[in-house]
């Protein structure tokens, strides 16, 4: 899933400093799962902003709504009625950064602000802890590395590791960070594939990644 975290409240407060009435929108997708922008977090942020503004003696009206997803135009349509009926000064999105862009595209005259910092594609290690596992390079090759991704999980994205900084299973960037190349070695050794590690992995064609510009997938079988 997309993993994100809340921007500091101070930053969000500064965004809404000039506004008296806003719509705060959450997303029931990835950001609900990573506890950053679901219905619950929408409620907490709305309350924090209201407290801060009451304290300044300038109350802010905040309406809350949490959409099924903000990365599908059909769900963004659900905002039509509240936006048409209410004269919001701005709409804030607690989805990953796809959400605010979809809202901005759909409601051309509306000011839109992001409340999250979208951080990585990853998963939960335990409740309340998430880590990066994939960098969306567009051409997955993790089968060459014991099904572990050195692009996302090695600090240097080495295709032929480990580097000299690997020590005791940890990466030189921090004793908290596993050296993925250590994990790759251990796993390939368990699988009896150590001989494969002797092969030099050639440089990667990065045109499928961001280096080829913004990406798009078109499925003719699904398109209408």
């Amino acid at each position: 899933m997309v993993v994100a975290e809340s921007k500091p409240i101070e930053e969000i407060l500064a965004m809404v400093a000039d506004f008296d009435k806003i719509l705060l929108t959450g997303c029931k997708g990835c950001v609900t799962v990573c506890n950053a922008g679901g219905q619950k977090e929408v409620g907490i942020l709305a309350s924090a902003l209201k407290i801060a503004r009451k304290k300044e003696g300038r109350e802010i009206e905040i309406e809350e709504i949490t959409l099924e997803r903000q990365c599908d135009p059909e769900y963004i349509d659900q905002l039509e009625e509240p936006i048409a009926k209410n004269n919001y000064d701005a709409v804030l999105s607690m989805a990953c950064s796809v959400g605010p862009q979809y809202i901005a595209k759909r409601y051309e005259d509306t000011l839109v602000y992001p409340c999250l910092n979208t951080t990585f594609i990853g998963g939960a290690l335990e409740h309340g802890v998430w880590a990066e596992f994939c960098q969306a390079c567009g051409s997955c090759g993790i089968h060459n590395f014991g099904a572990l991704c050195p692009i996302a999980r090695c600090a240097k994205s080495l295709l032929n590791g480990p580097c000299g900084g690997s020590a005791g299973g940890k990466c030189e960037i921090s004793p908290e960070t596993d050296c993925v190349w250590h994990l790759i070695y251990e796993r390939m050794s368990r699988l009896g594939q150590l001989d494969k590690m002797a092969n030099v992995v050639m440089f990667k064609d990065w045109t499928t990644s961001r280096d080829g510009g913004p990406r798009k997938i078109v499925r003719e079988d699904l398109k209408q």
């Binding site: 101070e10 924090a48 407290i51």
Partner: protein, 115 residues
């Protein structure tokens, strides 16, 4: 046992402090409470194993939120005591009331109080 505790305290019962959410604490402040505290069972004594430990973390989070928006984090607190400690209950009520008196009324407030 008849013990007095300050009458400005408004008690909200929950089945276990594990039910107390960050939003409950913030809503009390938003609605004008000068302070909010959670009175949970002693650590290690939760009937549901970890309800009071969860509450402790949520209180800590609510404190952080208040701090970020420039309110004294001391307006939210977690206390632990057993249901048999009536005297301690009254003492905490006085202690917290005293703390809030020293901080003064909440700048958010309409004068309501919550516990």
């Amino acid at each position: 046992m008849r013990l007095n505790y300050p009458s400005n305290i408004k008690i909200i019962n929950v089945p276990c402090t594990g039910r107390v959410d960050i939003l409950h604490l913030l809503k009390a402040v938003e609605d004008g409470a000068d302070g909010v505290y959670v009175a949970g069972c002693l650590e290690g004594d939760c009937h549901y194993i970890s309800g009071n430990l969860k509450a402790k973390k949520r209180v800590a989070y609510a404190k952080k939120v208040l701090e970020a928006i420039g309110l004294e984090p001391e307006r939210v607190e977690m206390y632990n005591l057993s249901a048999a400690q009536g005297a301690r209950f009254a003492e905490i009520a006085r202690e917290f009331t005293e703390r809030i008196h020293q901080l003064g009324p909440s700048p958010v407030g309409s004068g309501a109080k919550a516990a």
